[in-house]
């Protein structure tokens, strides 16, 4: 029961994050949305792990921990890129596509 509820929440979070990632223009906002999307995927994975019984399945848990740490590293790289962009161009979004 718990697993299903949080799994459905994860599914909703993926949609919310995806929407923000597409609609938002500010690069930092996109980074936040990307993290929401990733967190939704982790939650889906966590719901699958919870169904394995009391204590959960340790293999997905270990992989989620790996994922959370890598997501932080990617976010830090993203933030450094946004800062660089802001310093070089005075803007916080990449150039729009030509056309």
């Amino acid at each position: 029961m718990t697993a299903t509820l949080y799994g459905l929440t994860g599914a909703a979070l993926v949609g919310i994050g995806l929407y923000g990632l597409i609609v938002r223009r500010h690069a930092l906002r996109r980074l936040l949305a990307f993290n929401l999307l990733g967190s939704g995927v982790f939650l889906l994975f966590g719901a699958v792990a919870e169904r394995a019984g009391p204590g959960g399945d340790p293999v997905p848990h270990a992989m989620i921990i790996t994922g959370i740490v890598v997501a932080l590293a990617a976010t830090a790289l993203g933030v450094a890129l946004v800062l660089h962009l802001a310093r070089e161009t005075g803007r916080a979004e990449p150039d729009p596509p030509e056309g």
Partner: protein
């Protein structure tokens, strides 16, 4: 227990409201604060999903490091995006598409196989050979050791990416500006008081990680956060990235891991294998080196690209 069901519903409702607000809020700073709040709430969700190891990592990262990373920079990138976003009709279409993705995922959740597939028996059968009591640590350091090894390399790659954003003349310099705080002030006081406690908590989380929730990643994150606090309080300065000592600490974890893993080829008959008699000692050694490297890598990732000439 129906009360737990009530709690779950409350938690899920607040999580979804906060996530929506983080996307929908007009103000960049408000969106960022919503996201930091989100990290804390997700840590609660992990406890409810019986994943306390994950909850520890999420608490240290989502509620600690992410906040330091994002809230410090919003003032530097507060400029509005100038490219107009998609129009109303387009937003509706995108929203419908994203909702469709969510619905498809929800359908997958509702049709998960019964009984649930599980790797618990496999882990339980193999864990006595590691001498560990915490199955998550056993998976991270032994059963899927190559994942963890590659992950530490990914962290180093990300750090190289951040450093490479420095202009040529600053290469090798110190990240960020020199932080100042009045020596008798509140911040300096906090900066002197918390790091020793944080060090203790970090070592504790590392140490119990062999048998209970905890371990190298959680401890490394805590140590990184504490180091960043000392830097922000002006009590310590970020080291220049050309420093040999720093670079040795950064690679210590992967090198020790790789060394012991390679030795496993000859002693235990497999790369990243451990001889059962010495497994626990070796794993704790690898974990100790990893904790140091993860702490240094994460702290420098958050500190950013070099901004001061060496």
């Amino acid at each position: 227990m129906t009360a737990l069901w009530l709690l779950d519903l409350c938690l899920v409702a607040v999580i979804l409201a906060v996530a929506l607000s983080a996307v929908a809020a007009r103000d960049l700073f408000a969106a960022t604060v919503f996201f930091v709040a989100y990290g804390l709430l997700i840590a609660l969700a992990w406890v409810r999903l019986d994943a306390v190891d994950v909850a520890l990592a999420e608490a240290a990262i989502g509620a600690g490091l992410t906040g330091v990373l994002l809230l410090g920079v919003t003032a530097r990138v507060h400029m509005e995006a100038r490219t107009p976003g998609p129009g109303r009709g387009m937003r509706l279409a995108i929203g419908a598409g994203c909702a469709a993705v969510s619905v498809a995922l929800a359908a997958a959740v509702l049709s998960l196989p019964v009984p649930a597939p599980s790797l618990v028996p496999a882990v339980e059968a193999a864990i006595p050979a590691t001498g560990l009591g915490n199955p998550v640590t056993a998976v991270l350091l032994a059963f899927r050791g190559y994942d963890t090894l590659l992950e530490t390399l990914v962290l180093l790659l990300a750090l190289l990416g951040v450093w490479s954003l420095a202009p040529d003349r600053l290469w090798g310099g110190r990240p960020g500006l020199r932080h100042r705080a009045r020596p008798e002030g509140t911040l300096a006081w906090l900066g002197r008081l918390l790091p020793p406690i944080g060090l203790l908590v970090g070592v504790y989380v590392f140490w119990i990680g062999s048998d209970q929730p905890g371990g190298a990643f959680q401890a490394g994150t805590i140590l990184a956060a504490v180091w960043l606090l000392a830097i922000m309080a002006g009590l310590s300065d970020a080291p220049p990235v050309r420093s040999l000592a720093l670079r040795l600490v950064l690679v210590a974890g992967p090198v020790v891991f790789l060394g012991i893993g390679t030795a496993g080829l000859f002693v235990a008959g497999a790369f990243l294998g451990y001889p059962p008699a010495a497994a626990k000692t070796l794993i704790v050694t690898v974990e100790a080196a990893l904790t140091l490297s993860i702490a240094a890598t994460l702290a420098l990732l958050v500190a950013g690209a070099p901004e001061r000439a060496p």
